[in-house]
């Protein structure tokens, strides 16, 4: 059987984590290709539903990576994001998925090394959790918006 390769979605703030990921590249530090980066203007822009949809569509883990506390470019988007992440963790726990597939981390733009380390560690911890149980679900599910909304 093919070894399980987790898919990790990382919502990275433009002002810190995204730049840190870039920095990791410049420093020739390798981090797992499992981590797919989505650049956001601030982690405050990441809603609970973005995290949930990523998992619903098959991501095995989601990282929300924002600025160090006190360093948010928009004052406190990172603090808000951290609260939303814990809300989603509770929601996931409620449906029996456990909170571990979602994590909030903070770092600065210069922390390329830290980014690479977080990416590697989180990939491994999700690998240990195994595939997202939702991924194996039968086809045929659907969600739609009603015409009136």
């Amino acid at each position: 059987m093919k070894e399980f390769e987790p898919v990790i979605v990382a919502f990275c703030c433009h002002y810190c984590a995204y730049t840190a990921a870039d920095m990791a590249g410049t420093m020739r530090l390798s981090y797992p290709p499992n981590v797919k980066i989505i650049k956001v203007p601030c982690t405050g822009k990441v809603g609970g539903v973005h995290i949930m949809r990523a998992l619903e569509k098959g991501a095995d883990g989601v990282i929300v990576a924002g600025c160090l506390e006190g360093d948010c470019h928009f004052k406190d988007g990172n603090v808000k994001a951290a609260k939303r992440v814990s809300y989603v963790q509770k929601l996931l726990d409620e449906i029996g998925m456990g909170p571990e597939r979602v994590e909030m981390v903070t770092l600065s733009a210069g922390m390329g090394e830290r980014f690479a380390r977080i990416a590697a560690e989180f990939t491994e911890s999700v690998r240990a959790l195994g595939p997202n149980p939702v991924k194996e679900a039968p086809a045929g599910r659907a969600r739609a918006a009603a015409a009136s909304s």
Binding site: M52, P133, P138, A146, S149
Partner: protein, 222 residues
């Protein structure tokens, strides 16, 4: 606003257990403001319910919609367009909205996804507190703008009781004593003398004690 809180997922899942196609209906008014049942919460719940089902190897089709106001038949009528795509309706509105949907679509089971709590105000971001119990005969003019019905644990009309200490109510040190607040406010307004007036027993027939209530405005009623 009317405040509400989402029910535990486990309870919601049990309610919709027999159904594979759900119409999930939010409301753009109070429950949006108190972050219980607006568009965002509809999307989150839809996602959570789908994942809970998929995890068990089952499926769930959800149609998401958020009405302008779920307590008005005009808006509920909009659901006609999508009702046939669902076996059951899950409403994230307050109890009024749930009932309007149930009244309009008699052939579909309708379930509440939130617990409707109270009429309240935002104390700060993310915190809501009870402010009015709709007693039908407002006393705020006598009590410095602080409601003794909703905010005094004993609904005293001539408080405080002996349990008031350091401005807090005896039920909980985190709860302000309403009568302390009333006294402070009357004092600030220079209306201390009003405090001496003994309020007569309240006629509760204007409240729920008179049975279900209704308002008829002859000039508007059709």
């Amino acid at each position: 606003m009317i405040t509400a809180e989402r029910k535990p997922l486990e309870e919601i899942l049990a309610l919709i257990e027999p159904y594979d196609r759900i119409l999930l209906v939010g409301c753009n008014e109070c429950v949006t403001v108190c972050a219980a049942g607006g568009r965002k919460e509809v999307a989150l719940l839809s996602s959570a319910l789908q994942m809970a089902r998929m995890k068990e190897g089952k499926t769930l089709d959800t149609v998401e919609t958020t009405l302008e106001r779920q307590c008005d038949p005009e808006y509920v009528e909009e659901l006609v367009a999508s009702i046939d795509r669902a076996d059951a309706v899950l409403s994230m509105a307050c109890g009024c909205g749930v009932q309007e949907v149930a009244k309009r679509f008699k052939e579909k089971p309708v379930f509440p996804a939130v617990n409707t709590k109270f009429m309240g105000a935002s104390e700060r971001q993310g915190v809501w507190a009870e402010r009015c119990q709709g007693c039908g005969d407002c006393l705020l003019g006598l009590t410095g703008g602080i409601c003794p019905i909703a905010r005094c644990s004993k609904r005293l009309l001539n408080g405080p009781c002996g349990g008031s200490s350091n401005g807090k109510c005896e039920i909980n040190p985190d709860v302000d004593c309403a009568w302390q607040l009333i006294w402070d406010r009357l004092k600030a307004l220079g209306l201390e003398s009003r405090y001496e007036d003994i309020a007569p027993p309240k006629d509760w027939r204007t409240s729920r004690d008179g049975g279900p209530r209704r308002i008829i405005r002859e000039d508007l009623a059709s």
